[in-house]
């Protein structure tokens, strides 16, 4: 029923739909058709015409109801051609349908509109991904379009619609979406193909652009033959051929013969697969015969899974670079040579302080270059110059200076010092960063030594105590005067520079001065020496010795005058003359002889003496010694002056002979005749005197013996009667006591007392005499013990007395202990006696410091004291300051004390006031010569 017609119509529609695909192909080749609005309208018209054709081969269901494949056409058009062409096609097909009329006209128009719209909707959804559409997507499109189409059948009267649906629904839904998808797939495939082609074309054009515009040469060569299949313009420029010429050439032809072998070897390795590309520096022979250096990079052009059939090469012209490098190398070599071969020391100092030095530098410091490789510059620098060097380095680094000079010291390997002049520049890289210091070092030790020598000479000249003047040989004006000169002459250098030597030499005129120095000028004398007078600025004058000479060469010749102030010399001369007048005017003979005895000098007095004595006027008279004597005399004189007596013409002279040097004797004489005579008399008198002394001594000794005998007999004989007087008075009292009246007994008692007192006097006088005569035994004495011993005795003699006694411990002296004990015994006995009226007495024994006499032993009491007016009488024999009734005593005790102390070389004195006690002092010098007893008596 439907089927034959329907399938026939469908086949025709299918063919048309396929033609649509080819239309697309066709139109796609025409650029403007897809890119311009007019093109798109044209495309739409073509599609519209195809739609019209489609509609000419319909399956007519019944009159006015036409079924065809315009829905597929428009849907696919909408999806693949876009809005404008599809709209044009829709307008054309819709117009046709309207013109056909019929009952299905509205349905037909609606199908046209909805099919195109759904296609466009799909287009909108997949716009940029059309090549990615799959069968399913396209099938869905077809399904959607045709479900809508079937739905639109209800625009027909219901009976018709149902009948139609009954007829076509199944075939339409079975076939139309499939056809839609199939046609769509064809489009997708076309689209995909087109895209690949476009990418390829773009890639091709990019490659071309790249290779054409590249700054490096690009080649493709046939692997098997080495023929160029492609070269770019740059490569052609590099080798100087045209591109056309090159395409008939091989790389082997172009390559420099010397580099070909290496190139081929690289290619072998490519083939072997050991490398994937290689690089080499090689030369091409240009068309004009010149050589060009290139850097070549080659890699095989391979398709996956195939052996390489082409090589692609990248060629860089490095002739310029090569030349630059060559120049750099040359420059470096030059620099190296300049550095190495320089006779000046050079060093490159890196910023880390390490150094690289040349031979001259190393040898200057006595090192090998290897030794210095490990050394930093600071280690070589003299410690005192480190600061300066550091300052220089920081100045260079900070950029305040590009290069600097200084003088510094280096230390040699042996420790010695080298003075150098150093020039250092800081070398920076292109970025301005410091790279190294370039230092040039010159050994200036010798220069410096010369300079110092020169300065030293100049200083010597300047500081010379001699006045030194330099003046012009023509004008005679002064050009220089040293310190000493300025100081003495009183002018400043500025003043002197307008003056000439004549101005300061009042005794000379210019003519006479020029005459004086003429011998120097004409060369007959090296220098002239003369004496004259200088006048200072203040007008004073002084005698000078002037030495003038010419110094220097040619036009630089100047006069130099060295001035000696001879004031002192003049004074010395005068003094010498003055001194010389002393022997000349000496009234005693003064002579000088050579040691062999020949006379050198004899003063007038010597000759006058000879004349007066009537002797020949030969000075040898004063030196009558024989030659042997003279030798002996010379030897003696070396020890000091020799004094001899010289009888001459009846008189006697004493001569003092001295030898001021090895060759001369000097003799000073004096007439000692009278002295001799007087001496002889004195001698005689002395002899007589000694005799007299001896006699007197004997007499004295005899007298002394007598005295001792006297004392002895006094002690015995004088006391015996007293004893009788006392004893028998007592006996009388005892025997006749009963019959004697009281007055007589009292008288007898007085007799006894008087005799006892006389006995005491005798004892004391004997003691005094013994003290004087006794021989002294000097030894260290414990004075404290002596005092204590004497005090014990005193206490025994005076029992019942309450006396507080203080004795200073540790008192010592040098003396005779026996005699010193007498001193303490007397003084303590006195103290006891004169404190007897006190109920409680205080006696003190000690040492006091006396400002005038030093250590003074003392005994102090607080007894009756004495009137200080009489203190000088205390130590005199038999002198008493108290009556016997007051205090008994003989007046000899203190005299004895004084005598003992005097024999020890000491002194005695006393202090006291009446009723206030007394203090008795004595001193015992530590070392002394005891007074001889004889003088004492």
């Amino acid at each position: 029923m439907v089927t034959r017609e329907f399938i026939t119509a469908l086949a025709g529609n299918g063919a048309l739909l396929l033609s649509l695909v080819y239309t697309y192909d066709l139109l796609n080749g025409i650029r403007w058709a897809s890119r311009t609005r007019a093109g798109q309208v044209f495309t739409g018209i073509i599609i519209g015409i195809m739609g019209i054709f489609l509609m000419q081969m319909p399956w007519t269901f019944q009159n006015g109801i036409i079924i065809d494949t315009r829905s597929i056409l428009l849907a696919v058009s909408g999806l693949f051609f876009g809005a404008l062409p599809t709209a044009v096609a829709m307008l054309m097909t819709a117009a046709l349908r309207l013109s056909q009329g019929g009952s299905g006209v509205w349905m037909g128009v609606s199908v046209i509109v909805t099919s195109g719209a759904i296609g466009l909707a799909w287009h909108q959804a997949w716009k940029n991904r059309l090549t990615e559409l799959r069968f399913s997507h396209l099938y869905l499109l077809g399904l959607a379009v045709h479900l809508v189409m079937l739905a639109l059948t209800f625009l027909l009267p219901l009976q018709t619609a149902l009948a139609l649906l009954h007829d076509i629904a199944l075939p339409v839904l079975a076939i139309y979406p499939l056809v839609t998808a199939a046609v769509g797939l064809l489009f997708v495939e076309r689209l995909q193909r087109n895209q690949t082609a476009r990418v390829l074309a773009e890639s091709e054009s990019e490659f071309r652009a790249l290779t054409e515009q590249a700054a490096i040469g690009v080649t493709r060569t046939e692997f098997a033959t080495g023929k160029y299949v492609f070269v770019n313009q740059r490569f052609a420029d590099i080798v100087g051929y045209t591109r056309e010429e090159l395409l008939s050439m091989t790389f082997q032809q172009l390559t420099h013969p010397d580099d070909l072998a290496e190139d081929l070897k690289h290619i072998d390795r490519l083939v072997a697969g050991t490398v994937h590309e290689y690089q080499m520096t090689k030369r091409y022979l240009r068309k004009d015969g010149t050589v060009v250096w290139v850097q070549l990079t080659v890699s095989p052009l391979v398709a996956p899974g195939e052996p390489p059939h082409e090589l692609i090469g990248f060629v860089e012209d490095i002739t310029e670079r090569q030349r630059t490098e060559e120049a750099l190398r040359e420059s470096e070599e030059k620099f190296r040579q300049v550095f190495e071969l320089s006779p000046l020391g050079r060093s490159i100092t890196r910023t880390d302080g390490s150094i690289e030095v040349n031979h001259a530098f190393a040898s200057m410091l006595g090192y090998t270059r290897e030794e210095l490789a490990a050394v930093k510059w600071r280690d070589l620098t003299h410690p005192d110059d480190l600061q300066m060097s550091d300052d220089l380095v920081s100045a260079l680094l900070s950029g305040t200076a590009a290069e600097m000079d200084m003088e510094k010291r280096y230390l040699r390997k042996d420790g010695s010092v080298v003075w150098t002049e150093v020039h250092t520049a800081l070398v920076r890289d292109t970025l301005g960063q410091p790279t190294f210091f370039l230092t040039t070092v010159q050994d200036i030790t010798e220069r410096r030594r010369l300079q110092e020598e020169r300065e030293r000479l100049a200083r010597m000249l300047e500081q010379s105590f001699n006045e030194i003047y330099v003046f012009d040989p023509e004008t005679l004006t002064f050009t220089y005067a040293n310190q000493a000169a300025l100081h003495n002459i009183g002018y400043t250098m500025a003043e002197l520079s307008t003056m000439t030597p004549v101005d300061i030499k009042p005794l000379l005129t210019e003519a006479s001065f020029r005459a004086l120095v003429q011998p120097v000028v004409d060369g007959s004398r090296e220098r002239v020496l003369f004496e004259t007078v200088h006048r200072r600025k203040d007008g004073t004058e002084y005698p000078v010795e002037v030495a003038v000479q010419l110094v220097g060469e040619g036009s630089a010749r100047v006069f130099m005058a060295v001035i000696n102030d001879i004031t002192e010399r003049r004074e010395l001369q005068e003094e010498r003359e003055h001194m010389a007048s002393f022997p000349a005017r000496n009234p005693n003979p003064v002579l000088e002889f050579v040691t062999d005895g020949s006379p050198l000098y004899a003063n007038p007095a010597a000759l006058e003496t000879l004349r007066q004595l009537g002797l020949p006027a030969d000075p040898r008279q004063f030196l009558p010694e024989t030659l042997a004597d003279l030798a002996l005399l010379a030897a003696q004189c070396r020890e000091g002056p020799v004094v001899r007596e010289l009888p001459l013409g009846g008189r006697i002279y004493r001569k003092v002979i001295s030898a001021p040097d090895e060759k001369t004797f000097r003799i000073y004489t004096i007439d000692i005749t009278d002295l001799k005579r007087a001496q002889a008399q004195v001698q005689q008198l002395n002899t007589e005197l000694e005799e007299r002394v001896r006699r007197r001594t004997a007499e004295l000794e005899a007298a002394n013996k007598e005295l001792e005998a006297f004392s002895y007999s006094v002690s015995h004989d004088l006391r015996a009667p007293l004893r009788s007087i006392d004893g028998f008075s007592q006996a009388a009292i005892e025997d006749a006591g009963g019959i004697l009246p009281q007055a007589a007994r009292d008288d007898l008692q007085r007799v006894r007392l008087a005799s006892q007192r006389m006995g005491q006097l005798i004892d004391d006088m004997l003691l005094l005499s013994r003290v004087t005569r006794a021989e002294m035994h000097i030894q260290p004495v414990d004075m404290t013990a002596l005092a204590a011993d004497a005090a014990d005795e005193t206490m025994r003699d005076n029992p019942g007395r309450a006396v507080q006694l203080d004795i200073q411990p540790g008192m010592t002296a040098i003396g005779d202990p026996r005699l010193l004990r007498i001193v303490y015994a007397n003084l303590l006995s006195n103290a006891w006696k004169f404190t007897s009226r006190h109920g409680h007495a205080h006696v003190e024994v000690g040492i006091a410091e006396d400002p005038a006499r030093g250590h003074a032993f003392f005994v102090r009491d607080d007894g009756a004291g004495f009137d200080p007016r009489y203190k000088d009488k205390l130590f005199v024999s038999f002198q008493r300051l108290h009556s016997l009734e007051e205090f008994p005593g003989t007046g000899i005790g203190l005299a004895t004390v004084a005598r003992v102390v005097r024999r020890h070389g000491g002194a005695t004195w006393a202090e006291g006031t009446v009723g206030r006690g007394a203090t008795f002092y004595f001193t015992i010098p530590d070392l002394h010569t005891p007074y001889p007893s004889k003088e004492e008596t």
Partner: protein, 147 residues
């Protein structure tokens, strides 16, 4: 008290003899006192020679009180003679003198004087000295045994 013992007093001054005897008696020393006037007599007495030839040489005094200052032979010489004679070598000798000269004292002791008594002017002091002498020599001291 041993009354049978004699004290030999060698003293030229009769006053001193008197006073010494007096002093001895005052001290209740009742021994016989033989008095000789000089050194020669003293030696004669002790040796029983010359004027004393009738004496027994064995009869030595208990003690000799010897003055130093004597006519003819001095006390020192007497002392030396006494000490030189083995018979009288151990005889107690008290030097009794007014001399206070130290050399005398030293010499006396060196020659073997048993004691030295200084005769004071004051008789009372002399009494005291004698008293002590008597007590010591005649009572306390044992005389050396006779041969």
């Amino acid at each position: 008290m041993t009354k049978d013992k004699t004290i030999l007093l060698v003293e030229d001054n009769p006053d001193d003899v008197e006073l010494t005897i007096r002093a001895l008696q005052k001290n209740n020393i009742a021994n016989d006192i033989a008095v000789v006037r000089d050194g020669e007599e003293a030696l004669d007495y002790l040796a029983a020679t010359g004027k004393y030839a009738d004496r027994s040489p064995a009869d030595l005094p208990e003690v000799v009180l010897l003055d130093l200052k004597l006519p003819k032979i001095g006390g020192i010489e007497v002392l030396r003679a006494i000490r030189a004679d083995p018979r009288t070598k151990l005889l107690p000798v008290v030097v009794l003198t007014s001399s206070s000269e130290e050399p005398d004292i030293i010499t006396s002791y060196q020659l073997g004087a048993n004691s030295y008594v200084h005769k004071p002017v004051n008789f009372n002091e002399f009494l005291e000295a004698v008293r002590q002498l008597g007590l010591y020599w005649l009572i306390l001291n044992q005389t050396p045994p006779r041969r």
